[in-house]
Each structure stands twice: as C-alpha cells, then as structure tokens.
Symmetry: D3
Subunit: 325 residues, 6 copies
C-alpha cells in the first residue's frame, strides 16, 4: 500500500515526505553557475506533481519511466505544489505495486475476470468456446489482459481498462442478444476479442504508449493475426465461422476513417459496432463529468467543449437535482 498520494500532497505542505513515485519526465538543466540540476515530473495513480533536485551528485541512477523511492520537501512555487527532492533512487520491482503508480480501474480485476469467464462458460457453440478458452487460458495473454488499458488516452485509459470495457460491453451484448434474434456466441466472441490486438498495440508501465508494431499495423490487424494463430491450432474450426469471427473484429470500428477496412455486414457485427461505440461514449461522459467538477464547475452546469465528442456535455442527474433545490 502506497502511503502518500500525490492528490493528498497539500496536507504535507512544508513537510518532508518519503515515498514511491513514477518518473514521467526527467530533464537535466543548468543553473546560472553552470552546475546541473534535475527537473522532474512525478506521477502516481492519483495525479502528477513537479519536482526539482538541486544537488544531483548523490542521486542514484534512474530514468524517465522508472519508479523511484525519494525523500523531499513539499513546498509551493508560483502557487503550485512541488517537491524539492533530497534523496532519490530507482526502486526495485518488489518494492512497489504498479497499481499504485498509474491510474487503474476502480473495479476488482479478479471479479471482472471471473465475470468474463462465466460468460464464456455459458457458450453453446463448441468451436467459439474452444477459441475463447485458447485465449483466456493462455497464461501470458491472460496476465496482459488483466492489466492492459483500453487506450493511450481517452476512455478507459487506465490499468485494467480494457478488461473493464470488455466486461461492460459483454454485459450489454448479452442483453441485446435477448432482444434480437442473433448468434449470441458469435456476438459475445466479437465483444471479447474485438480489442485483443491492444495487448500488443499498447505498452504500459509507468505510462501508456504505442508499440512500433501498434503504430504501423494497429490493433485490428494485430488482433486478426492473433485470432488466426489460435484458430490454426484448432483443427476442426469451421472455415466459414473463422471468416465471420474475423469479420466481426475487422469491422467493429464501423467506418473506414476509424480504421475498419470493412463495414459490418452481418447482424452481429452491426450490433457489436454500435454497442462498443456506445459503451465507450458512456464511459467518456462519466470521465468528463468528473473532470468538469474537478475543474471547479458545478456538477449541474454544461461542461466545456469536449473535443473527443465535438460538443459540450451535461450531467442529467446533477442538472435536475440543481433544478429542484
């Protein structure tokens, strides 16, 4: 358990603290006398703070991307809190919990994982069940699936974000499969695998970024490749079903300009596209409502322009609540 969170630093103003932080940025700068100092950006799951380290001689070896243990003074510079670092060293992997240092889901990962597996266990199509078991029972893949964010930024950009998004999407897909006469197992297979390529498109540690493969090929193409490999190991998998599974994943962005080279052509692909997009938008709205309040506006006020949705937003519940009072 991390003891001091960046979000709580204000209560330590003018005090010394000791703790673990991720180093998001590290620059070496010169003082007027020509000597060097470190200008740092530190992060944990609750936020970011600037830091300086004036005496660098005693500093251990560390780089941007590392997690460090440090001791320093919390002070205020130009109205913003910052840490004057006195001692710093790279932390070892055993000393910290990555979940404390980067944003992560508020849901319980194990519960989400169990929920996901329960859906698969209820499949009636043996081929799709076998395909999904091949993914979920692959230890390396499962470990990654439990950690991966759903994006570098935007919706679900946190540890466990991909799993959280997939479980929510599978839930609404289950409901839709009761309402429309569709191939429920195929729809759920699409929901579970649609972003599977993100396990290789993104890398995450103390920050989230794209891999080179992710930038040059994208998660859809990577995901298709992963599915083809798993299916190649399932000799009885029907060829027609393989084409449909791949089509559902390939087309789930629903538009060429969003990177789907084919538009959804079967009912399950159409449902998956709409529900995936809708689920992401619902999460984005929750994020923005939180950000709106954090930025000091009333919860019931219209937000600033939200760029990813090209419009401002309004929190229904808060707005109506305000109205009544």
């Amino acid at each position: 358990m991390k003891e001091i969170n960046i979000a709580d630093l204000a209560q330590y103003e003018n005090q010394a603290i000791t703790g673990f932080f991720a180093v998001s940025g590290k620059q070496v700068r010169s003082k007027k006398d020509g000597s060097r100092y470190f200008s740092l950006i530190l992060a944990d799951r609750t936020g970011q703070v600037d830091a300086v380290m004036w005496e660098t001689d005693g500093a251990g070896d560390f780089a941007a991307g590392d997690v460090v243990k440090l001791r320093g003074q919390v002070c205020r510079y130009k109205e913003k809190l910052q840490i004057n670092v006195e001692r710093i060293r790279a932390a070892t992997r055993e000393e910290f919990d990555l979940g404390d240092l980067v944003p992560h889901t508020e849901r319980n990962i194990d519960e989400l994982w169990a929920e996901l597996n329960a859906h698969v266990d209820s499949f009636t199509d043996p081929h799709l069940k076998a395909l999904l078991r091949a993914f979920l029972d692959d230890p390396a893949l499962a470990a990654a699936f439990k950690e991966a964010p759903a994006a570098k930024s935007m919706h679900h950009a946190w540890i466990g974000g991909l799993l959280e998004h997939v479980v929510s999407l599978v839930g609404i897909c289950e409901l839709a499969a009761k309402h429309y006469a569709v191939h429920r197992d195929l729809l759920l297979t699409g929901a579970i695998l649609h972003d599977i390529g993100k396990l290789e498109e993104l890398r995450w540690g103390t920050s989230f970024d794209y891999t080179v493969e992710g930038q040059l090929l994208g998660h859809i193409t990577i995901g298709i490749g992963m599915i083809e490999k798993k299916i190649a190991a399932l000799p009885d998998f029907p060829p027609a079903l393989r084409v449909l599974v791949e089509h559902v994943v390939l087309s789930h962005h629903g538009k060429y300009e969003f990177g789907s080279p084919k538009l959804p052509m079967i009912p399950e692909a159409v449902l998956l596209h709409y529900l995936d997009d809708m689920d992401a938008k619902m999460q984005t709205m929750q994020n923005e409502f939180g950000r709106n309040v954090a930025a000091g506006r009333a919860a019931g006020e219209v937000t600033e322009w939200v760029r990813s949705m090209e419009r401002p937003l309004l929190n229904t519940a808060a707005f109506l609540g305000k109205d009544k009072s």
Copy 2:
C-alpha cells in the same frame, strides 16, 4: 377479410377473379385505332400487379389513390402475370379494410399498444408519466399512432411500422437502463416520443407520402411543437425537465447532416441515438435478407449492394447453415 391476395394470383392464372385493390397508378393510353384504354398498377398488402382495361366506356369514376372493386381475368404477358379488367368501380370506405390493401406490420397492433402502455404505467417520474399519458390518451393521436408507418420507404415502411419500431426500441432501452446508470423514465420518454412528429410528417392511405408540413419542417420540429403543446397543458411540469425531453427528441438523429440541429449532450440522448439507429439497421437487415431471397439468390449468399447501408449484407444464420450442409 380480403379474399384474393396479389401474392397468390399465380394460382388463378387463366381464371376470372373479383376483389378489392388499391390503385397505385392509372394512365390513359391510346390504342393504334385511336381509342383509349387504361393502364393500371394495382396493389394490396402482399404486393403489386399490372392491369389493363381495354374497354373503358363502362368504367366507373376512379383515380390513382382510390380503392376499387373489380372483376377480371388473370393472364400472363411477357412472362409476368397481369389482370385484364372487365369491370371496375371505386369502393366505399366500408367495403374494405385498409390493412388488407397496404403493407402492414405482422405484429398485433393491440398487443403492441398494450405493451407500450405497460411501459408507461411503470414510470416513477410523475411528470413524464403525465406527459406520456397526455399523448397516449389523446384519442386522435392514439388512432394515428396505431396506424402510422415509420417511413415513406426504408425500414418499417408499413402500417403499424412506427408503433412496432417504438415498442422494439423501448424494449432495448429498458435493457440498457438496467446496464447503465441513467434516468430510465427520461430515456423511455425519448424512445416513445422521438418520432411522434411523423404522425403529421407522413400521410398514409393506399400509399405513403410526406405532407407539405412534413417536407418543409420535418418530423423533429413538428414533434417538438407537439410536445410543447402537451407540456403547456401540464402546469407543474418542471422547466428543466422540459428542456431535457425536447433535447432528447431534437438530438436523436445524432448528426447535423441527418437533421438533428443539436448533438446528444446528455447520457440518455446518447443512448437513445445509438439504440434508435441500431434498431432501424437491424430491421433494415431483416428486410434486405427477405428481399435477397425474393430476388432469387440463396439465403446464405452475400446480397447485392444495399444502398441505404452503403454495403452488401450477409445473413449469418443462413450462411453458417449452408456451410454445414
């Protein structure tokens, strides 16, 4: 009950029939000897057939758009069936059931209506419940709502189509309201009223068309006006709630180019937009799968290019079935 359906004419080839038909088209043409004859297009809920009437002197007065009673011979001309009319007259409104003469929903209207009312009865918000009762208990409006198509052509373009679409949409909205933390009654109000302006945008009789008001103002603007009038009669209706109800209806097309002057800005409006569009697309796909088979292609084949969706489509169930055989 209509006795002879156009879809069944083949079994009457070379026989005389008597029945009621809608006149979709009527042209007066000249024979080579200079005398006149009628070239007609007849329709009922099961389809269309060409007809000619060579001797027009005995014909009663009738026009395109009328329903007629006629007697004639079913014959084949250039491989297509047609009716050689011998006697024809305009029918009186009591003689026929409009439902027999134009395409209509396969669902039972009264059951759909009861289902819709049951949703409203379960509302917990008294204002929204009162608003919806004001609509559904208005006899003229209820009568129109039970008949109106959802479109001139495209999805749900049949008698009862609007009600059928609304009930399906309300159903999926109920499910979504269980999955996401939203104002369920507001979402359902949007689902029930989103196309209410179509009652005045469209006119339906023996064919479907736009009213002048429909063409110049559109169903969204008309619908907002209808809602404003009903709310004006509910003195306690909260002003903030009024703005939200109108916003949900106004924004449900989700894009400026589809005629929504505002984009969905609250969670309920975002859900309604996605689910409405999705429900319409699912119905379109069903229509196209039927049309594909009617056009003589195998059910499991990819369809021709579907213009309204800008892609060809594939019926999952039929395609996988074919594959197994």
Copy 3:
C-alpha cells in the same frame, strides 16, 4: 456617463482613478508569505485591463460578473498597463449604465427600433403584420430585442448587435424584394424573426454566454417555439402561411451542418439564407479590418488568417489608397 474608459487609461499612467468596471474574472491567489490577494480582469465597453488588489481585507463582497466601483493606481507591469486596486465594492444597478460596461453598437438603438417598426408598418399582409406586432409590442420581448447581442463572439457580439444586424438585413432584403418577384412581407418577416430565439439562447450582462436551454435546443428551435406561441394567439392566421414562416426561420442557416434541419425550399427562404450569411460576413470583415489595424499592421496589408472565414482578408479601400500614394 462613464468618466474613464479602459481604452484611455494610458493617459492616466501613474495616477489614481475612480470608476465603474465590470469584473470579467476574479481569482484569489496566495503571496509567498501565505497571505491572499485578488487577481482581477476588469472590462468596460472599450476593452479589458488586468488589476491586482494586494490588501483584500477591506474589500467589499463582489464576484465575477458584478459591476464594481473602485479606486486604484494605473501603473505598468511587464509593458502592460494594470490597475493596483485600493478600494472596491459592488455597484448598485442604479449607479451605472450597462451600455458603458460591455461593448455595444455604435448605432442609436431607438433609431434602429424605429426603423424596424417602420418596415413592419408598411406590410400589406395583415396576418404577418399582426404576427410581427405581437412580437414587437410585447414589452418584455421588445426590451430584450433592444439589448441582445447577435452572438457570444464573432459578428455583432455586442449590446444591440442583434437589432443592428436585423435592421441591416431587413434593409438589403427590401432591396432584393424589388429585384426579384417574391413575397416581400414573408421575406421581411423571416429577416426580422430569423434569430428571435437568440433572446433566450443567449444571456448578457457584463459578459455574453449561452443559457442551458440555448445549448441544448439552440436558437432556431427556441425561435420556432416562440413563433408557434404567438401564432396560437392569432386565431385567423392561415395554416399554410404558418408553415412558410416557420420554414423560413428553420432553414435560414442553409446547411445541415450549421444547424438547419431543412434546406431552404421556397424563394424567400433562399434569399434570406444568402443575405443573412452575406450580411454577417460583411460585418465580420469590418471587424477584422479594425482588429488588423489595432494589432499594428498597416490598413492596406493582408490580415492574418481569419479563422471564422478560413482565409486572410484585405481592405480594398486601404489597399488601393496605399497604392496611389
């Protein structure tokens, strides 16, 4: 009459002044010793200036959006003028003229209003004349119409801007009605009412902003609602004419992406769309030419890129004048 304008502050440098100003921004900040000070943005109709108030204990209660009376020193900080406030208090509504504190039209409001009414008096269509009288004779509405800006920013974003724009537009519409054979009273009705919804879409005081209703519904939908209410009180108003009046207002933005759910379909709507857009662009150009000179460029030079018009602009008269010299 306001005595000291922000535009003239340079002549008071290093002197004490007393005056009324609108508070556009107010932030409480900490000095290094931990004590608080106010960082303010003050505005009047001639511009904006920064201010600080180091001793906040004696300050009366005031907030952003208020008008205040203050005494302070005009000084220069980092090459910019600022006011060091010594005393400040909220002003009462009687002490100031709002027109002095926010930008407003350079035209005389009463003359503009008389000009507008003269156009209406010359109407020959009794229904349209009655409709416009119902608007212009409504005291609350007339009061708002005389004050409202035409926009939050962009063209005519000043007190009286809406009226100024409408009068200019009515003028060019009168001329166009002489050149083309159209329904002059309908065209002028559209010109006068096209932006009437802005009276409720915008709010103005010491700054301009959108109302919640304005953001969720927009001025076109609001305006249609206002027109429907006025027409409902005119029992003989012809239904066909009502549809045309609403169509002209609804379609005046001319494109879906600009928030008109219908394109102009009648000649009067086509004229109104072009002339409204043209009048706004002509005003924008005048604004930009002024801004160009204020930014220190020569009047005859090409301006910087003007974002709202997606191009740079050139003042013909100034450019040709320069050329001759």
Copy 4:
C-alpha cells in the same frame, strides 16, 4: 419567322408540314430487308421531336448539328408524336434565324445590352470604365456576349442567357453597393466580367457544348487570360487594381470544390460570390417551377427532388394561392 414550332405539332397530327429544324441527332439504321433509314432527333427553341426517314436515297447531305429544311407527315407512334420525313436538305445560313432553333432568353437582347452599357457609362473609376469599354466595344466579343448561354445545362442555358444573368446580377449588385460601403465600380466590373471566359468555354449553335479549351482550362482561367490581355493594352491601368479585378473574377465561385482556386478575400469579392450564387439559384427555382407544372403536377405542390439544389422546392405564390381557394 419560323412558322411551325415543335411545341405546336399536336395540331398538325396526320397532316403534312414544311419547316426548318436543327438536327440534334442523326443515326443510320438498317431495316429488316437490309436497306437503310435515318433515325433523327429534331429540335427548335420550343422543344424536340423524333423523326424517321425511310427513303434515304433522295436525301441531301446533312449532319448532326446542321439546320435542315424538311417536308414530312406528323403522326403518332407509341403515343408520341413523330415526323415521317419525305424530303430533307441542309438549310443555308440566310434561310433561318438561329434564335428560332435553340432556346433563347425571353428578354430583348438589345435592351439588355443597352442596360448593361448604361451601368458602365455611370462608372466613375476611369480605369475600370476603360477596361469594360475595351470589352464591350470589341465587336467580336460583343457579338458573342449577346448570344452566349450561361451554361451547357442548368440555369440560363439558352441563347442570351449569359447576358440575361449578367444584367440581373449587375442590378442586384447596384442595390447592394447602396447598402454596403464598397467600391461600386469594382463590384460591377466583377459582375460584368465574372463569366466572360464562358464566351470561349462554351460553343453554341444548334446545341450547347464545351470547347476543348473550356474543358481543360475552364471559364475562370480563360476569363483571367482575356482580362490580362485587355489590361495589357491599357498602359496606365494600376497594377494593384489589376490584381483586385482578377481576384474578384478568380474567387467568384467561392469554394475550392467549385473551381475557384482562391476564396473571396475583399468585400467586393464576397458580395459578388453571394449575389452571383443567389441569382443563379433564383433562376433555377423559376425553371423548376415551370418544369414541375409541365410535368403535370399542381403549381402549388412540392416538386420532385431537384438534383442541382439537392432538395425539392415549393412555389410560394402558387402554394398560398391554392390554400386560399
């Protein structure tokens, strides 16, 4: 004076006629016995009619594009009138008036020309006046200007159409120059010369088409070239004014996708773009209202979809008239 117009052929059914017609199409076809016959399309300013000539041996030499004198029988084939030609020969240029054989303006060309010249005579800028005189006093150019259509199809696609459009545009520009403070002579120069390149972009005789130069360069580029040549012969023409005149012509389409490589950047160019587009749309609407009635719909009904305007249209006057009756 042409004696028999195609629009009036019905009154000559089953009679022999003699007259002049333009040959829009000529095909040589084979009869079943192997002998040849001509299938022709004939046109005059009032319309088109099909013709056949069974005995071709006695036919003079003529081609599509020629004007012919012929004698034949008016008869009806498949409900359409056609002419069975008995004798035919190419007409000489002196025998016919081109105005009788292609659609042309209903206005008097000489009056339009005088009106245009009167505008120029009132110019106060000597350079622009000299430039326009150089154009209008050029005999070849003036002759072409009096004949040219404004388009191959679409608005003002008739002999004299360009002049008619220019005179209408100059008229509304005169009015706008009274309303806005602009360089009136520059605006009018733009109005008169904006389409001058069409004199070389189009060719007209018995039908309208593009020249190769018109297709490869377009009327804007051609027009700029014509203006440069005329200005080169006016040694004192101010260089800055030359750039503005060319800019006004270059930018008058107002959008890149309509072939203007620069957007209007000066007030006169902005006005010209809006008024030119508006004038063309007003003429298009008149054409469509006429076509709507000719197609058998009521004048007060909404028209079919008008492709060039991407919407249906409604004739205000006819619609309101219908409403009153």
Copy 5:
C-alpha cells in the same frame, strides 16, 4: 485455338457456325403457345452476343458459368447480331482454353512471370528474397498468380491482369529506387505482394467475382494473413522487417476510405502508394481511350465523363495529331 470469335461474327451473318462459348446468362422463357425456350448470353474473350434456342428438348445439361460447344445460325434481330442455337452441350475442361473465353492480358504470361522472377533474383536482402521465393515457388500460388485478374471490373480486369499490373509496378518502383535513397528490396517486396490477397479475394472462371471471404475481409487483410503464414515458416526472419513488410502492404491504398487502416509511414510505403495508384490510373486511361473510340467518338476528342476518375479524359497523342492535320 478458338476458331470463331464473337468480335468477328459479322462475317458469318446468315451462315451456320460451330464453336465454344462461355455461358454468361441463361434464362428459360415461355413462348406464346406455352412452350419453353432458352434466352442465352454467350461470351468469349472478344465480346458478348445474345442467343436463343427455340427447341430445348434436345439440349444437353448446362448452366450459366459453363463453357459450351454449340452449333447455330448467325442472324440479325433488331439490328443486332444473334445466334439461333440448334445444338448445344457442356464442354469438357480439356476441349477449350479458358484464355479464349474470358478477356485476358495481351502480354505473354510466361514472359511476365520470368520478368517478375528476375527482379526477385536480384534482391540483396536474404530475408526478403527468401520470403518472395516462398511465394513464387509455391506451385498453387504461382498458378493462381499467373491467372488472376487485378479486379472484378475497372483497371486490369482480365486474366493475367494482376501479374501484368504487378510487373508494371515493379518496373516503375525499380526506377524510383534509383532516384530516391530507399530500401529497394523492401519497396519491391511491397510491389510484388501488395495485392497478393486478391488471389483469394477474387474468383475467376468464365466471369470474375468476389469470394465471400473477399467481401467480408478484403484482399489487404487476406494478404497480411498469407504473408504471416509464409514468414512463420522462415524462422530467422527479423521481426522488425516483418512489421515493415506488413505495413507496406497494409497501407498501400493510402487512405482510410479506400480500406487501408493505416496511412503509409515509411518512405517505401509512401512511394508504393503513389506509384501503385498512378500505375492503375495510367492503365485506366488507356482503357478509356480505347472505349472512347469503340463508342464512335474521334480519338482526339474529349471522352465522356469517366466515373472512376470523376472527370472526362483526353488522349494527348490523338489530340495533337488531329491538330496538326
């Protein structure tokens, strides 16, 4: 060798012929007496012709898509040649050369194949050379590569069209690799493999069409899968190089809306995209110039509007030739 080509049928008018033809269409129709006849469309590499077979009793079993041997009379009906079939039967695969029956390249396939292999032999990168040998030495794949068209319609839509297009593209890529400092073998690998997925996207026999996999996944995704499989069998293939090869293929359409989910990000991908698009357009222009002349226009005239290029075209050489004469 096929003896009688459809293009040459005119010289057999009124004679009996015997030959092999592809059946593009077959319909069973009824005569007035109720008996059946066949209405056929026959094709070979030189064109299409209609045929009828009045006496169907003696006809062997054949279907659309088959190649048949038939005997019949060449006659003329409504000015068009047609064949009255007297005897017909399905041909066996040994009796005909598919190349005679569908359009195919005018180039020699074996020479093209040798040229392609020569390029690969000159590779200096051992991994890319091994990858391409794995493709070109795969007998099934090589056989398909020598036959496949490059499209269902549009440019290179003929047997051998893919190979012809690839060889032309490789040629211009070789030249570009001399002009720009790029990875020549990577560029050529992209040129050779960019459309390799078309071997499974398209099917060709007596006509060209898409496979279901082609429609649901598209040739880019299919091609990536084929490349991944071949690379998986080359254990030393560098992972970074694999990503680049796949990126070059994935991005070669250059735009999202053309089905490339990633834009070209490396110099070789940028070159390949431009040169591939340019090579296809150059071929399209040649096709259109041929079609223009075939449609009866002069070679030096501007063509009709070419839909795939959204413009009309002009044959430079023919136009200048005409000019000189």
Copy 6:
C-alpha cells in the same frame, strides 16, 4: 564567407563576437526605469538566437528584415544562449551573401541549373524547347529561379528550394517517361513550369513571405499568366499545345481543394500530379527525420505526429539498423 554561425554559438559562450545577422524581429521595450531597450531575434542560415541591446542610443538605424553587422557578448539566460549586443548597424548589400543568412539548399545551384538546362537541350519538340528557352534565358527570371524557395514553410522552404525540387521532379519524370508511353517533352515542360508562378507568389529576403498578388491570385494563376505572355511572343506555337501546357500546370495540384480548378485529364498531367506530390512528400519525410533527431528522439523511433502529413513517420533505415544492433 560568414565567420560565425548561430548553430556554433555555444563555443563562443562568454566571449565577444562580431558578425552579420538577419534581423527577424525587433521590438522596443521599456526597462523599469522607463528607458528603452531592443529585444531582437537574429537569424542566419543555421538557425535563430535571441538578442538584447540595453543601450540603444548608439544604435544605427535598422529594421526587422534588414541584415546587420553587430558586436556583442554570447551569454546564457534561462538556459538559452543569447547575445548582448554592444554595437549594431545595417549592413550594405555588398558586405554579405544572402545565402549565409537564410536557409538554402545543400546542393550547388550552378550544377542544378546546368542539369535543368541539359534536360531542355534534349527536347525534340521545337515549340516546347523554344518556350522553355524563353523562360530560362530570361535573365531576371533565371536569377529569381536560382534563388526562390519552393514554399514559405513546409517542403523545400529554403533559398534554391524551388530549383532543387524542380530538378528532382524532372529526374523522376524522365524515368517515368521511359516506363509509360507519354509525350516526354510535354511532361518535362510541366515539371519545369508547374511552380513557375512562385517566383511572383513568394518574396524572399531575410525571410520568406507571400506577395499580395500571391495571396490574391496564387502561383497557379500567376504561372498561367507568365506562360501566356511567353507563348504570345512565339508566333508559331500551336494553339492545341498551348492548351495542354496550361492544363498540365493548372491541374498539377490534382484536387480542387488544393487549388487546382481542373483535375488532370491527360496522361502527362496525371503523371505530373502524382510525381510532384510524391517528390514533395519524400522531401518532407527527410525534413521530419532530421527534425526528429534534432528534437532528441532516437533516429529509429517513430516521430511525433507530423501535421502536414496527418500521421507520425518512421525512418526505415534507422529503424532496421537499430533492430540489428
């Protein structure tokens, strides 16, 4: 030869220097005591540096845009190098070489010029050869051609950039003319003249900017005018060839939104458009790879988002090199 380059200033830190610099910016500011000082931006071909001049009394007369000779101290302020100017005066045109003061091509101008002329000398078409000689032998034009940048910013934005781009483009066009059967001299004429209007669209001295004519007309229209003037002086120039030369130049941007009012309609125009765009993109990529390394990223890493190409980029060679190490 310039002695001290801005890129090398670090080695003069805390030393006095004397040299020539272009003044990119000059502002007069006030010190706290009310006295004035100069804040300057100095530039040469290797970069930019800030400078201050505290004592302005002794300063000679100079303005932004001038080249100056100055003496000053190189020091560091807020981690950035700056020059404290002690003496400054405007330099005379003879004292400096403009090439030292603005970025310029790394190629030898005379060699590029010779290369360009050699291409023209090999022309076989006498008219095109005469046209190009008229351009290249025009001393004023040749002088400008050897200096002009190809753009204000973006690709080839340096002295000699236009010539460098043209020579590269002519080179790839020569290769393409060997691969495709086109009019080689026409293609090369287009390559040499396509941007000739930039000689008047841009102005360059110590910085690059647009002329007013450039902003109002653009380099394509200006270029067409220049070509028309040169051709007017070649009495035998074939009119058809003139139209083609102008078409090639007019259409070379390939899209309306990039300022080409006509799309390429002849093969040479299609080739020129693709190869010009491709050559510019290849140069842009080289620039961006350099900028990537200068910004401190590894050469083999993906770059930041490149706005002009709407994507990030990757240097193939560096990436593969990194991979091997």
